[in-house]
Symmetry: D3
Subunit: 225 residues, 6 copies
């Protein structure tokens, strides 16, 4: 999407999410006068990205709690690796729009959104193509499901709907955790099961960050410096 | 978009519109008990389909008059060639979502929406792949601009913004008019100018319908019987 | 309505529309600092202007697409004959409220709205009653219907509901076209039929502009200079 | 307004309110299955009924507390004289739309709304023009203002804005009180002042009910039997 | 509620209302530049303050007319005893939230809201604990019901639902009236009945103001000077 | 709050949350005809529960993402220990309204909401005071913060605002996890730090469940059978 400052199209199984990063010359009220910037995210789904058509949010007349929750997660994840004080008083809006949904759209939004953000920050902070991109590290997200005693990495819709526990892990390139959310859909789980899910998730994150490096190509070197 | 009953991705210059057709087992109140069906359309834009990011409609808190106008046009155009009485009490919703915008999104929505609708009606009305698709004809739409004394077919954003007159023409495969809207942005125009714009538009429609026939392939024969 | 800067009550058959023009000392964002003004319109219906009562728009919780479409049409039509650069940074709001509806409310709104606008511009631009009103020409609107092979000028509700083609024509005093919208409700129509409808519409416009001249009385001479 | 079941146009000074009564074949949930009906009112103002234009309520995005308050008052006043159990499970909606506002619109809405209601009940309950209209009495409303030590009946906008106390009185033809609201805008008032205001208000009510009798003509005899 | 500038918890029978007063450094547009301040009120109910759960107002999608009416009454009552010109350009917002509802919440809101307001004005206007609180008098409110020929002071829910006439009286410490609203729920009432209700209400007000004096303790002396 | 089927007032430090459970005879569409019930939660804050007054949600005109997120968490947590199939087609709505906020309102809402839910289920499922309450276990929630290398259990507002990592833990009486959410506000964290936070959280949960047992008294025995 050449009209955006940064963009990425991420495909994971049958899930497709279009991510764009836009720069706006304003900040939320609590940052005015601080010289610091902000990163925020918005999340949407095309009406027919799902098997059954979803009404457009503006026609339902009520807030979409799930979308609110996802865009807050994506925003927090991206801010965790961004040097906000180096942005100037600007907001980067990362839009994640689901073209096709088959599970894992929120984790795909984090992983793809990072690439779009890096591209936009490259243009913003390195107009001459030199110097650092104001990102401290890579960040990606993955889901892990517990089915009986088995684990599944990056669940599709069917796996997600039948998992007993659903874990979302947001992790950096250096293996530290930005966010972990684990929810029992049926029976509660033990700490041992949590550890196993985290370990599998970490291996998935390493693969995703390898793909991010590939997608960013020469920009990779300018991240995390 | 394999999850939808019908779909089409239309590209005109830099404009890209994703069209899907969905079948819902309900009709508007005024059709209940008549045995007849309905075709309606909805129109949206990804926030960064435009050069400057547009806020999502659910965040603005006010109706988007332009989108309302476009989706009413698309719905009327498609209904004009559909044999509604052969649908049963069903609604076909044609979603037209702009991935990238560079002028002419409403006409692209009609032209692409027709292909998505034909695919969905094929599945609905011809489960065995035989018989007619309940469409009386092809329908496509094109824009024509008047610049000084010159005419432009299918204007991009820059041409649209500078045109003195903007005409949208919706026409069938047999050359009859479904809808014509011509608006003077600056100086009013004469009937002779209107006729010239209509003639150029008709030639554009013929080309677009040739592309529709190509996209529909073997389904083409089942339309308009 | 003596409290408004300009006003007109237009009756066409059983249709009655009250039009007022108000001056506000503000312009839309894109005009700020340009010195130029704006003309916009709003359209409403009394709940019992129709045979069956319509809920008030603020109680429905959803945008009224039809009203949006009409007020955009009225605004465009009036701007087409207004010398916006001579208004200063002011907005003229033309409110068109339907007291009784029996077809043709949108065309009545254009025709009556013009008179209200002219009165308001007279007060604004000619405080001493001398000089020009910043309008380049008169403008009025009329509807034409195609019933089988017959044509009807200025359709009432019954004629409108049964017309095969519905044309709305906005035209100036010098006979040039500001806007034409023709929509097939049933069968598409030919260019010959379009021409016949335009010719009949033009004759209706001439009559309407004669009534506008009568209503404006001595102000007539200050328009279009 | 011949399309409504009942209607009245009331003029008090420069205030003009159009009242219509509509019959709908439904009742609020708490009356379902009781066989009894309901009377409700809605209140609106044309945007330019006031000296300074008011935005339409659907464009402000927030509830209009004043309109809510007025329509609740009008509804209560009319229900107080209606034999709801004789209506069947129907709702009579009395719409009061202010065409021009110069003080006293809420009291004019009650007084004019009564006439519209009586006309609609006449058609509903006396299809053959015989028998009683299910109204126990006439009802009208008037405002009284206290200015220093002087009293004003039926205040216009200027009087209302400068009154120290504003009393609204709703009273029946037999002189009993349906509702009294007295509000100190500045200094609180005494019971003696309240009594004086009530006495003046009662004399005004008697005049208004005489006008209602005149407006209803032969229907007058069928009220309150 | 120690975080608020002023607060009071009022219990009347089973009705409990939490009142807080907050100071904001802004005024409504019509007061800008006048040096004068404003007092406003907001009213809410916990979802399960009532016998049957009430949906939260933000989930209903429509304005709550009753709440609007009550908060306007509370605001007017408090302003009637406040020397607004001594506040500076500040707004005092008095929030009245019903914890438990058993009739009389609006009158409890006035009575408790006054105490919260007095505490906040004490902090605002008497930082050194000396001088006057900018209140001209005490104010409290009470309801009186007419049941057949008997009167009830401070009705609970059952009494309120069966009363033939419902009177709300807002009165000052010196016995003058700020607001009186009397509504016939069934049969209209006479002036003699109104007088009897006012007398009983006045005796209730005296008791309530005695409780307010007790609650305010040493602040009592600084009111009305 | 004796009008609710179940209620609990929970105080943790300066945080106070009123929790009520209401029974409604309806279920979400996806449960209709299954015989199974549902548990859902809603979350609100009194305007002056916070140091700076918060506008009421119905006046802001936009969805409150934070409240949405919290009420989804509370609902999931309570459903995880409820035998939904034993409720019949009923919904239990647990309202959590913050009276005073000083950190940890979401975890207090889970812990207090459980007690309110247990009381309501007792009345619903054990009308004779015998048999089991359809809850498989107790559930409570606690927050843990990481400050530099130190850990804080149940953070107040100041601790929360300065924590580097914020963990919310929802755990059952048998020590299994229902939900864990850990978010780095500044630097990402390691798995060892996550384990330490979980261990401290588990000890807090044990204390909270001891308080819940005390609050439920004799009902305790009927839970988890």
């Amino acid at each position: 999407m050449p009209q955006a400052e940064g963009s990425a199209l991420i495909t994971m199984g049958s899930t497709i999410v279009a991510c764009t990063a836009s720069v706006e010359e304003r900040v939320p009220p609590f940052l005015k006068g601080t010289g610091s910037g902000w990163v925020t995210a918005e999340y949407g789904m095309l009406p027919r990205s799902t098997k059954v058509r979803r009404p457009r949010p503006e026609t339902t007349g009520k807030p979409d709690g799930r979308a609110q929750e996802i865009q807050r997660l994506v925003g927090r994840s991206l801010r965790a690796v961004t040097r906000l004080t180096e942005l100037g008083e600007r907001t980067l809006i990362v839009d994640c729009d689901v073209i096709q949904a088959d599970g894992g759209t929120r984790t795909a939004a984090v992983t793809g959104g990072f690439v779009a953000l890096a591209c936009a920050l490259d243009k913003l902070a390195r107009p001459a193509g030199a110097g650092a991109i104001p990102l401290t590290d890579f960040v990606a997200a993955v889901s892990v499901g517990l089915h009986g005693s088995g684990l599944t990495l990056d669940m599709n819709f069917v796996a997600d709907a039948t998992a007993g526990v659903d874990l979302n892990l947001v992790m950096t390139g250096s293996g530290t955790i930005v966010e972990v959310q684990a929810t029992a859909e049926g029976r509660p789980f033990t700490q041992a099961q949590l550890s196993a899910m985290l370990a599998l998730g970490a291996s998935g994150i390493r693969q995703l960050i390898a793909f991010q490096r590939e997608a960013l190509g020469p920009l990779t070197e300018a991240v995390g410096r």
